[in-house]
C-alpha cells in the first residue's frame, strides 16, 4: 500500500539514530521511590537507583522540610539496581507537599514516585529531568495518579524506535486497506496478550535473548520489503497479519520489560497495565495514521521521488534491523560467555 515517498520516515529514523542517547537499547530504566504510610505522618521509604554503565545513578530524593529521617538506611544491590530502605516522619504529612529528585537533570530517565496513603489510596507520579519535582495531591483525588501509566505507555512507543520501525516495515509490505486493518489489529492483539501474560508473571523471557529476537523481527522484514519492490510474493506478503501476530507476541514481552522496570505496584496492576497498553496503542495508531496520511498526501500532490529516496525507508528497516541484531547478539554472547 505504501509505495510512493516514504522519505520523511527514513529521515526521522536516521536522525533518531544520530541522537546522542543510546537509543537501540531503549529499555526504560527509571528510578523508583515508594512511600508507604504506616502511621500518621510516618512513611516506609523504598528507593531504587538504577545502574548506569554498572555504576549507581547519582540521584537522591529531597523531602519537604517538615520531614526527618528516623532509623537506619539499608542499601542492597539487586539485579539491575540499588535498593535503599528507610523510614521518615513528616510532621505535616505529605499531602500537597513537593518531593524533588536531586541530580535527575543529569540523566535521561524518569523516576516514578508512588505514595500509598494510610487509607489505602495510592497515587503515582513521574519526575522527569526537565521537571525533577512532583507535588502530591493528597488522599482525596489520588487515583488520578494512575494516568501516569497512560503517559508512560505513549512515551514508551514514541521513543521505542525498534517497535516503530517494525510497524513501518509492516506498512511497507501491506498492499490494501483491509490487510492493513487486519495487520495492525493482529499486532495489537498479540502484543497485548504477551504484555499482560508477562506482567502478571505467567511467563517470563530473559531480556538479552528477547532484545536479539526483536531486532531479528525487524531484520526479517527487510528482505520481504525488497521482494515487494521486485514484484515477487511470499507468505509474508500474502499474509502480513500472521507475521504481525507472531512477532507481536515478542514485542509485547518487550513492552512488558519496560513496564516491569517502572516498578508496578501490587493491587493496582490491572488498571495500570490497561492504561499503559492504551498509551502504547495511542502512540502506535498515531504513527500508523501519520504514515498513511503522508503517503496519501504525496499521491495527491503527484510527487515522484527518485527511486533511492522512495526506497530509503525500506533500507532503513533492513539496515537498522541488521545493526541491532548484530549488536544484541553480541550482548547476548557476552552475557553467556
Amino acid at each position: 500500500m505504501i509505495r510512493a515517498g516514504r522519505f520523511l520516515l527514513a529521515l526521522v529514523a536516521l536522525l533518531a539514530t544520530l541522537a546522542p542517547a543510546p537509543l537501540p537499547a531503549h529499555e526504560l530504566q527509571p528510578g523508583f521511590l515508594e512511600l508507604r504510610e504506616v502511621g500518621p505522618g510516618r512513611f516506609e521509604v523504598l528507593w531504587k537507583q538504577p545502574l548506569v554503565g554498572g555504576a549507581r545513578m547519582q540521584i537522591a530524593p529531597i523531602f519537604p522540610e517538615s520531614c526527618r529521617q528516623v532509623g537506619e538506611v539499608r542499601t542492597e544491590r539487586v539485579e539491575i539496581a540499588w535498593l535503599s530502605t528507610t523510614r521518615i516522619e513528616c510532621a505535616q504529612g505529605l499531602a500537597e507537599k513537593t518531593i524533588a529528585i536531586d541530580g535527575l537533570d543529569a540523566y535521561s530517565t524518569d523516576v516514578l514516585v508512588r505514595v500509598q496513603h494510610a487509607d489505602g489510596a495510592v497515587e503515582t507520579l513521574v519526575a522527569k529531568p526537565v521537571q525533577p519535582a512532583v507535588t502530591l495531591r493528597g488522599a482525596n483525588d489520588a487515583q488520578r495518579g494512575l494516568w501516569a501509566y497512560l503517559y508512560l505507555g505513549i512515551e514508551h512507543i514514541l521513543l521505542g524506535l525498534d517497535h516503530l520501525l517494525f510497524v513501518l516495515g509492516l506498512l511497507l509490505i501491506v498492499r490494501d486497506r483491509w490487510t492493513l486493518v487486519k495487520t495492525v489489529t493482529a499486532f495489537t492483539v498479540a502484543h497485548s496478550i504477551t504484555l499482560a501474560v508477562a506482567t502478571f508473571g505467567v511467563a517470563q523471557v530473559a531480556s538479552a535473548p528477547l532484545n536479539a529476537a526483536i531486532a531479528l523481527s525487524i531484520l526479517f522484514l527487510g528482505p520481504e520489503i525488497v521482494r515487494t519492490w521486485r514484484g515477487q510474493t511470499s507468505f509474508t506478503i500474502r499474509h502480513p497479519w500472521v507475521v504481525a501476530f507472531v512477532f507481536g507476541l515478542l514485542h509485547g514481552f518487550g513492552f512488558a520489560s519496560g513496564l516491569a522496570a517502572l516498578g508496578l505496584p501490587q493491587g493496582e496492576i490491572p488498571l495500570a497495565l490497561l492504561l499503559f497498553n492504551v498509551g502504547v496503542e495511542i502512540g502506535q495508531l498515531a504513527f500508523v495514521l501519520l504514515v498513511i496520511l503522508l503517503e496519501r498526501s504525496f499521491r495527491i500532490l503527484q510527487i515522484h521521488w527518485p527511486q533511492i529516496v522512495e526506497r530509503l525507508p525500506g533500507y532503513a528497516v533492513g539496515t537498522l534491523g541488521a545493526f541491532w541484531t548484530i549488536q544484541r547478539v553480541a550482548i547476548l554472547l557476552r552475557a553467556v560467555v
Partner: protein, 187 residues
C-alpha cells in the same frame, strides 16, 4: 546540591514533552500560535492554488525553515520579531481569503520568505532552552507533515462550499493577525 535545581534554564519557549528533544521541537511548533497559523495558512494557500503550488511550498517551506532555524540557533537573538511573524501569517490568510490567482512560483517565494523568518525565530527561541539539531529536526518534521497533509487535502476540494470554507478559514487567520497587530501597537 540544590544549585542544580535552581539553575535549571527558564523554559520560556522550548516545550517540554518529556519525550526527548525531537518531540519537544515538534510540540514547539504545535504550541506556538504564530508558527501553527503560518503553517496552516500557507497550506491552505498552496492547496488553493493547486498541486504544483503545493509541491513548491512543500519543499521550499520546510527547507527554508531548516535554514532559518540553523541560522537562529547559530546567531541567537533575543527578539522574537512578533510584528514580522504576525505579518506573514496575516498576509497568507488574506491571500487565502481573497482567493488571488497567484502563480505557483509566487507561492514558492512566499513560502521561502515565511519559512526563513519563522524558522529563524523558532531556532533563536529554542536554542537558549538547550535545544539542539534534534529539536530543529522535530520542528521541521512537524511543519513538513502538517503542510503535506493539509495542502494535499485542500487540492482535492471540488464542491463550491468547501472552497468557500477554505476562504473563510483564511479570513479568520487574517482577522486574528489584524487584531494581533493592534495588540502589538498597544504594547
Amino acid at each position: 546540591m540544590l544549585g542544580a535545581l535552581n539553575s535549571a534554564p527558564a523554559h520560556a519557549h522550548l516545550v517540554q514533552t518529556g519525550f526527548g528533544a525531537f518531540y519537544d521541537g515538534l510540540a514547539h511548533v504545535a504550541l506556538t500560535p504564530a508558527d501553527l497559523l503560518v503553517v496552516i495558512a500557507l497550506a491552505l494557500l498552496a492547496g488553493q492554488r493547486g498541486t504544483q503550488a503545493a509541491r513548491w511550498a512543500l519543499f521550499a517551506f520546510p527547507a527554508a525553515w531548516l535554514a532559518g532555524g540553523a541560522l537562529g540557533a547559530w546567531i541567537p537573538a533575543e527578539a522574537t520579531l512578533p510584528l514580522l511573524t504576525t505579518l506573514t501569517f496575516g498576509i497568507a490568510g488574506a491571500l487565502v481569503a481573497t482567493d488571488v490567482k497567484l502563480r505557483a512560483t509566487v507561492v514558492g517565494v512566499f513560502a521561502i520568505v515565511a519559512g526563513l523568518l519563522h524558522g529563524y525565530v523558532n531556532g533563536a527561541t529554542m536554542a537558549p532552552g538547550g535545544a539542539g539539531a534534534l529539536a530543529l529536526a522535530g520542528a521541521v518534521t512537524a511543519v513538513f507533515c502538517l503542510l503535506a497533509i493539509v495542502s494535499s487535502q485542500v487540492t482535492t476540494l471540488r464542491a463550491a462550499w468547501t472552497r468557500i470554507a477554505v476562504r473563510v478559514a483564511g479570513s479568520w487567520i487574517a482577522a486574528a493577525g489584524v487584531l494581533m497587530l493592534g495588540w502589538l501597537a498597544r504594547a
